[in-house]
């Protein structure tokens, strides 16, 4: 299996604070990785540096084969990122939004409806402005916008937050399916007790590094 994410002694800095302090990690294609760790451990920072949103200030970082120190924009088209925030245009209607995200990656229009249904956004919400949705409904729209892009690498920051239990299970199914089709998934979660559920490997972070790795090879 080829390495999808390959970080070696990666240091990343935000402001003047080192958010990653020499992180070593190799993620192979098809893995489903659960990131755990205290608040402030660096999970978000790690996910964002995988997406190239935080620049690597020392060490070696490769994502999907691209050297992040050469061009950190390159791998993005293959990556789907869901952060703490939902990244939604709140003036648009639900369906318009997902449609736009779909068109951006060249997906067909029919994919939009499929994704919305898959994630469990009921039809009567499709032409409601995103601004008037509830927290969980918004999260689902954000997930649908991701699903529609069929990314090769999924980076999810607490994807379950504010979803109801049914949608949580549904999301787990979606992720499991995606990984079966060859996608790699890295998601952070604080769910307790640690239902590793779909995760094939659990990584515990702390202080900007990996503390424990259930699948250390």
């Amino acid at each position: 299996m080829s390495a999808v994410v390959e970080f070696e002694k990666v240091v990343a800095v935000a402001g003047s604070f080192p958010v990653l302090t020499g992180l070593d990690l190799r993620v192979a294609q098809g893995e489903v990785i659960l990131l755990r760790g205290e608040n402030g451990a660096g999970k978000t920072s790690f996910l964002r540096s995988c997406a190239g949103l935080i620049s690597v200030s020392s060490g070696d970082a490769h994502v999907l084969g691209f050297d992040m120190r050469v061009d950190r924009r390159a791998p993005r088209r293959y990556i789907g990122l869901l952060g703490h925030e939902n990244n939604l245009y709140r003036d648009l209607w639900v369906r318009e939004h997902v449609e736009f995200r779909a068109a951006a990656v060249g997906a067909a229009e029919s994919d939009t409806d499929a994704a919305l249904l898959r994630v469990g956004v009921p039809k009567q919400l499709w032409s409601v402005p995103i601004g008037s949705l509830s927290a969980g409904q918004r999260r689902k729209v954000a997930i649908a916008s991701l699903v529609v892009g069929r990314p090769r690498l999924w980076l999810l920051d607490e994807p379950h937050a504010s979803l109801d239990s049914e949608s949580r299970e549904n999301l787990d199914v979606i992720l499991a399916e995606a990984s079966q089709l060859g996608a790699t998934i890295i998601f952070a979660s604080h769910e307790s007790p640690p239902t590793n559920g779909i995760a094939s490997r659990v990584i515990t972070m702390g202080g900007g590094r990996v503390l424990e790795d259930s699948g250390a090879s």
Partner: protein
């Protein structure tokens, strides 16, 4: 690339259509600014006729800045900038798309403003072609500069005040050129209005070139 550009344009115009900011709020505001300026200058009507060209561009500057602001408010709200950066759409298309959408909105604003000025300031146009060309040139220049600086300040805090601070010095030459060109078109100045209009095109072209080449880097935050 064309398809991607149009995609961005459509999205931006759709947001505008839903929220009706440009037409519903910025255009009336710009008209109000005309009234306020006229009164601040104490209604010396000959001055208003002479200064109409300049005041038009001042109002466009004000309204345009708000529209640029809004165009990036939409992209930064709810952490949206991340999605903008992650977008599979190429950076040049993002740049062109947002510029075009802004062009349409600023263009509409100018139509409203133009009618307002014609009515309120009692102007007489002597050279319609120059007027039109100058307006288009200025609008293009405003739009591309706006998108360039908009994205540069997008990652930063307090954009609401930072953006105009960065923009105004860049837009000032356009405003100056536009004012002179308009003054020629309105027949209050014999100057070479066409030179000024072409200056605006040059400014627009330079910014477009920079935008097409560098928008990718400018997008990055840190």
């Amino acid at each position: 690339m064309l398809a991607e550009t149009l995609l961005v344009v459509r999205k931006d115009l759709r947001v505008e259509w839903r929220a009706k900011v440009a037409l519903g709020q910025v255009a009336p505001l710009a008209l109000l600014i005309l009234v306020v300026l006229a009164f601040a200058l104490d209604a010396n009507s000959s001055l208003l006729e002479l200064g109409a060209g300049g005041l038009y561009w001042v109002a466009v500057l004000y309204g345009g800045t708000l529209l640029i602001q809004r165009s990036f408010d939409v992209e930064t709200d709810d952490g949206n900038m991340d999605a903008f950066r992650m977008s599979a759409i190429g950076a040049p298309s993002l740049f062109l798309g947002k510029s075009l959408a802004l062009f349409v909105q600023i263009g509409l604003l100018e139509l409203v403003l133009g009618s307002g000025i014609a009515l309120l300031y009692n102007v007489r146009v002597t050279d319609w072609v120059l007027l039109f060309v100058a307006a288009v040139a200025g609008t293009v220049a405003f739009s591309v500069c706006g998108v360039l600086w908009g994205v540069m300040s997008a990652g930063l805090r307090v954009r609401a005040t930072l953006l105009p601070l960065l923009l105004v010095p860049v837009l000032a030459p356009i405003l100056l050129a536009g004012s002179r060109a308009f003054e020629t078109a309105l027949g209050v100045r014999a100057d070479a209005g066409w030179t000024w209009a072409s200056l605006m095109f040059v400014i627009a072209a330079i910014h477009t070139a920079i935008g097409l080449g560098a928008f990718g880097f400018l997008l990055e935050e840190g």
